[in-house]
Point group: D3
């Protein structure tokens, strides 16, 4: 699959054969009464509208050709009203096994998963408090499925770090900042802060769906990541004999309160210095990432387009300006 062209590089008239992800899929009736299939197909480089005018050319189960399915398609690039489209000759459902590496279809963190997991392990290993280290080890090291999901999930559907690996990348960035903050504010319990940082968004592995287009799972919509990770932490702590109840409360408190305000979905306010610190550093990291991204986006001039995550435009002019001479 790795040698199929990226959609962004297609030109009118090019033939195309390969795997694509269906963002949208609908069987429609033309004005002449015949059924056709209208798709929006994507890879990591972008997306195109696609049409299969004769639905009898769908191989296999027509119902399997739907949004969020990987499809094997064959066709060619055409132009309509100045926009490139795909005119399809064949379409069939494709299995995950055929498709292979998801990073061909989604934006991916700039940091390799292996390096990030090594950094995670080092952080877990650095914890002095034996109870906290046990808890983190159980969740991040010993639970292989959770560890794999933690390395692959995005940090959000759209707000910040919305790419594969973004959850771990964001978590490690907050952890790095937290390490520095604990050195500065010596009164806080560094191990407790680090536990809070590493756990604060863990539930997003189950809140978000990201094997296809990014979205929310049923559990994500019904419970939210905070309730999900709270449950996991309690369960893991319950499996460690004599895990101190006081510690369990303090860790859960950090996690439950990390959105900082009730109207942002935290059922309690941060009431310990550690909880307060985790809230601020998490919030800061997400907002800064959104701001750096807005500065780096293509197009526009001194000001980014209106940014929904930040609810404002971002000023892109940097000081000192490139090429300015300072004496």
């Amino acid at each position: 699959m790795s040698d199929q062209p990226m959609l962004r590089n297609l030109k009118e008239g090019d033939a195309f054969q390969g795997f694509l992800l269906a963002q949208e899929a609908a069987y429609k009736i033309s004005a002449k009464g015949s059924e056709y299939l209208e798709l929006k197909l994507s890879d990591a480089s972008g997306d195109l509208k696609a049409f299969l005018w004769d639905v009898r050319a769908v191989e296999g189960d027509m119902e399997a050709v739907r949004a969020d399915a990987f499809l094997r398609v064959k066709g060619s690039a055409t132009s309509y009203n100045g926009r490139l489209q795909l005119k399809l000759d064949k379409v069939r459902f494709a299995t995950d096994a055929e498709v292979g590496d998801l990073s061909h279809f989604f934006p991916v963190s700039a940091r390799p998963a292996v390096a990030m997991l090594a950094e995670l392990d080092a952080l877990v290993g650095s914890i002095q408090d034996p109870w906290i280290r046990s808890l983190l080890t159980a969740l991040f090291v010993e639970d292989a499925d959770l560890r794999a999901a933690f390395a692959q999930a995005p940090a959000a559907k759209a707000m910040h770090h919305a790419w594969l690996g973004g959850l771990l990348e964001h978590t490690l960035s907050v952890a790095g900042m937290a390490e520095r903050a604990c050195a500065h504010y010596g009164q806080v319990n560094r191990d407790l802060v680090m536990a809070g940082v590493l756990l604060h968004d863990l539930g997003k592995t189950a809140e978000l769906s990201y094997a296809r287009s990014f979205g929310y799972t049923d559990a994500g919509n019904l419970l939210g990541h905070i309730a999900l990770e709270a449950e996991w932490i309690s369960r893991a702590a319950g499996c460690i004999p004599d895990f101190p109840e006081e510690l369990r409360l303090q860790i859960l408190h950090i996690v439950l309160s990390h959105h900082g305000r009730l109207e942002f979905g935290s059922p309690v306010l941060p009431k310990t210095p550690e909880a307060l610190l985790v809230h601020y550093l998490d919030d800061l990291d997400g907002k800064l990432e959104a701001m750096f991204r807005a500065q780096g986006e293509e197009g526009g001039g001194a000001w980014s387009p209106f940014n929904r995550t930040l609810d404002r435009m971002v000023y892109r002019t940097r000081w000192p300006k490139a090429g300015s001479v300072q004496n």
Copy 2:
């Protein structure tokens, strides 16, 4: 203990001997430099300031004489600036075993616990869905400690149903109303609604402290009753083999969302008819109870004093007015 006089009935000059609950307790220094003990002591009928002018008369551990302790005191009623006080001669810490029935010290539901528990059992028994019935049985019937706490806890520190047994009384009232609502709105799943109603405030047994003056526990302040009961439900469901994940999500969703809005401490909004219904009926029952209580309070005229729970005054004039003739 049951034959000691209620504080409300004391007159100046009466001797008093018996058990009282310390609402406040502080060792203070008089202007002359001697240490004395100042207390606020209560039973179910009210409270009085009390003074022990010679702290050497404290029997046993002085540190045990503090707020929220039951004390055995001996002294007499005196008057100062027109207010009755207790002048104490002896004070000592009392054990729970000595003290006996808490209802001597706290306001108590008008409904007997036995009758309320029978109604609870009948509700659990009325559930048709076997999974839901199993879950409720595990929590309300088989867990004796939880059952006992559920029958004794108040529903709130001050907002509504703030008396011993108030939690169960409120829960059953919502359940009764829910039964009627499910008959009216036939599309909702009655068993699911009933599960949501019975479970929605269960965590208050651990959120509130009520063996002494009503307040919040550490867990209550750090996690809140919603997170507490969510954990218990998941744990109980986990002990029932093959408990359906879909059902667990729907029940947890009702519980997590029952405050109706994020700023009221629900991390998610109600997204099913059952969750919406439980939210409205819970809110309505608490508000109506507060309104009935405001109408019934002594003093004032056509309007209650400003009511903090309702953020308004309540109109007490009833239609038809008592004694009015209608033809």
Copy 3:
């Protein structure tokens, strides 16, 4: 008129002749400088764009052919860019008398008006308080125009029960629920509650325009339905000799406060149990109806599209799932 085809059933090439409602109408200038008429025409089954290329084919007063007018049109169905249109040959204004039954053009309640009016009469007849019964009789039984409007109006422009007859359907649903609530909360005055329920949205008969596309009347926009019905109640009470002022105040209070919060358009907060109850049951009924409708809409999967009335998506998966086996 009843034998004209519904728009939904038209196919390309079909001829069409009949009455349609103009949702939009505009005389435009083509790029070639000639005037044409562009319309959006509807019946209860849907709407289509329509074009009359030669405006001389308009019979009678051209100015009468405008939005919200019933038109008599003749033409045929054509297709443009895959969408069906009507190419018109003739257009003229139609009188209400020609058009006949409005239910051919608008969504209509599933409950027959006759049955709903009988239920309304039974409710009025069930009132024990003679003053309240007189008042309700004056408004709902003796005022034939108001009674007819009450049976035909929708409950809202778009939020909930937005169909002909929806106002009465919603009112009766709240009344049914109120009957049950009064049985549960014995302290409330059932007759007062029922008066509040039946009257709470009566002003919508003048607030909303629904003989054409649903919208707001001038009076609706300038005064709102609460002020309108308050005026009607006072006027009706004024025609009943010796109507008790205390009762008039209590009924008006329920009506004025039934939106529950100032920011939702109630000039006062509910300050009696009856007013509080009417507010909750009204709000609940509207929200539940919106939720049931969101669950029943076509398309989508486990989640409804974002619902503006509820400001959230609705979860459509029902427990137990259809076809699931429970033992």
Copy 4:
């Protein structure tokens, strides 16, 4: 009565005999078990605590001696903890007829009622539109009770113009400003604006109680002044044959919307220039009066105490400073 001393001028040891208004009144039990009467008595100059130690000295109906009653008392001024009190020997209920001029007991507008009513009449007479003039004449000239109440009521319980005659004083001030604004913004209908100004707070004559301590009536609390005056306007318009419905809507709209925002108790927003103008000028006049009053209050320095009406402190230093020399 006019020769009784003002409370502010009493000195310890002075005898007192005369009429006073009871702000508070309670029969209490002393620590020794005997009943006494505790009062807070006021005239326009201030208030004092008062005690009648032998309740048998109450003449007539003891129940009539309550808050908001005028009382005839006899006693002497004593001192307790540095505060002056009244020690009473006799107390009885007094009739309004005995008491006479209310202005002895309440703060009163600096403008004489006669002059203000003349200004009101001139304004009504200046209206060109015959319908509007008829309506205002009916309410302000022909309805003698309403006219009298309009001249005597305060404009608010505490926020601004909280003195007898304050309602008319505030109304005329807004009218004067409105006259100027209409000259400036020539597009607005001056007669409509003036009608809105004169009517906007008319309902306060029934919303507020001011024959005793300022407060809210039952109708005021249950309906609010906006609903009250809307009813009166409609009733008065209904008595004028052929009163134009369009005009009635526009006047009612100004009145209903004059608080400017739903959360301030207006059920609709101002949607005409006239309604917008009345809202701004009413709001401005009340806020400016509160600010002038805060600047003029005794005590403090450059800043007023925190002002609840304005939710801020007010800066009292005026430019140019008194005595400053400007060249």
Copy 5:
């Protein structure tokens, strides 16, 4: 340039040659791989899409042909899908000198700048306080650049008075109203109010960009007009020997607080009568202008389209209705 046709008057087939303002400009790739230039070009009468299919026909620096540039174009009017377009043959960048009077390209105040400046000068001359007059003279009379900008800037990007000269027009309207208000409220310092009015939006000359399409400058987005004018006032006051600090504080306070609430961008609340008055009159003038404009807009019936500035629809029916007979 003055003899080139306005865009609104172009007909299909007309040739066009002249200067236009580029609202948007983008070099695009057609489906066939060739580059073309797509523009949106405007003058004061409206705008049109325009296409240059052969980019080699751009004279001079292609990069200078971008949004907000004045261009010299040659081409003809064509039609596509019923919309008029410009098909261009030649495009080049135009200098400001060539273009001449900006009023050909932007909406302009109905009041001539000369007359408005004369009114401004009269207002400055009417100030009795010598310090205030000096300050206003320095800014409005002696600073020729600022005076010129003040006469040309719009009052807002879109909210109200959004046309060339709108800033001065709005300022003078508020000043006229303020003159009347100071006559009414004799306690306020008229010179201080007038200073506040004239200065309150002065910073908009630097906050807004209006030599091209209206927008915000970098300084406008980063600092806002309030901070800008505060700086200018302080600098100007600093150039007047012995300018009283008390007066500087009071003027700055009016300017800083004139948005009336923190959430509207004022860092402090109005705390003097003068500041309060300027806030209300400024707000009123902007809102009334928006309302008059909404009433006057073409199209629609009794109600304006939803107006974003006012967050509501505006009622257009005027009382008395044109042609209505009043007796």
Copy 6:
């Protein structure tokens, strides 16, 4: 003065002679008609009520004996209702010169001013950007008065760091944290961040009055510290030849936006990464300090009293608990 006793150490009967700060001062009339002076006097250890019963014992100007004055008093400690008071024999106004070191009368930072100023100088010296270094040098090094005030002012009246030297202590703490944050987020301009941090609260030196009881100055109440420091920065930048306008805008933007939200008094939102970072670190530092202080306050148990700055109670139990054994 340094050998006078601290008020906290006074015992009943002790004589006292020395300087004290008047928190409150009022001439009152006793019930017997004689004038006396009632004071609240303080030093850094606490405050006491004080009475001078014969006002003729005031030496010199009686009017100078008022709140916020330093007084020289002579008298003795007495007891009233169990509270210690000062019974005064002599009182006179004291000059600042007599009083000497303010730290005897106010809470003071734990860090010596000399050390903090050295750290400030090092930070200024560490700036690489020559323009920024010049600006900071002008304000913090060369302006001796501002430097002295910066070292002595508190950071707030009550919220956080409310002690002498608290402003510099808070600023340096934020700077230390900012240094670490810039190391972590390499994309931000460290010099710009550091300028923002050092300048963000500089205006508090003029906003707050702290030579006496902490409060707000007139300028502080009228303009706020943000407007004050913005003015100073612009003035200082104006004195540096060719100071880049772009840089001035970016620094002012950080300062103006550092409260993060309009409703918290920032007229603009942070729109650069540097501004965002300064806002978060400033907010975090103040909140953490308040939390640490709440944990350290005397009295109470596991929970602090309700904390107004944080709008919540703070959990004081630390993990690991003191004395707990961890293996």
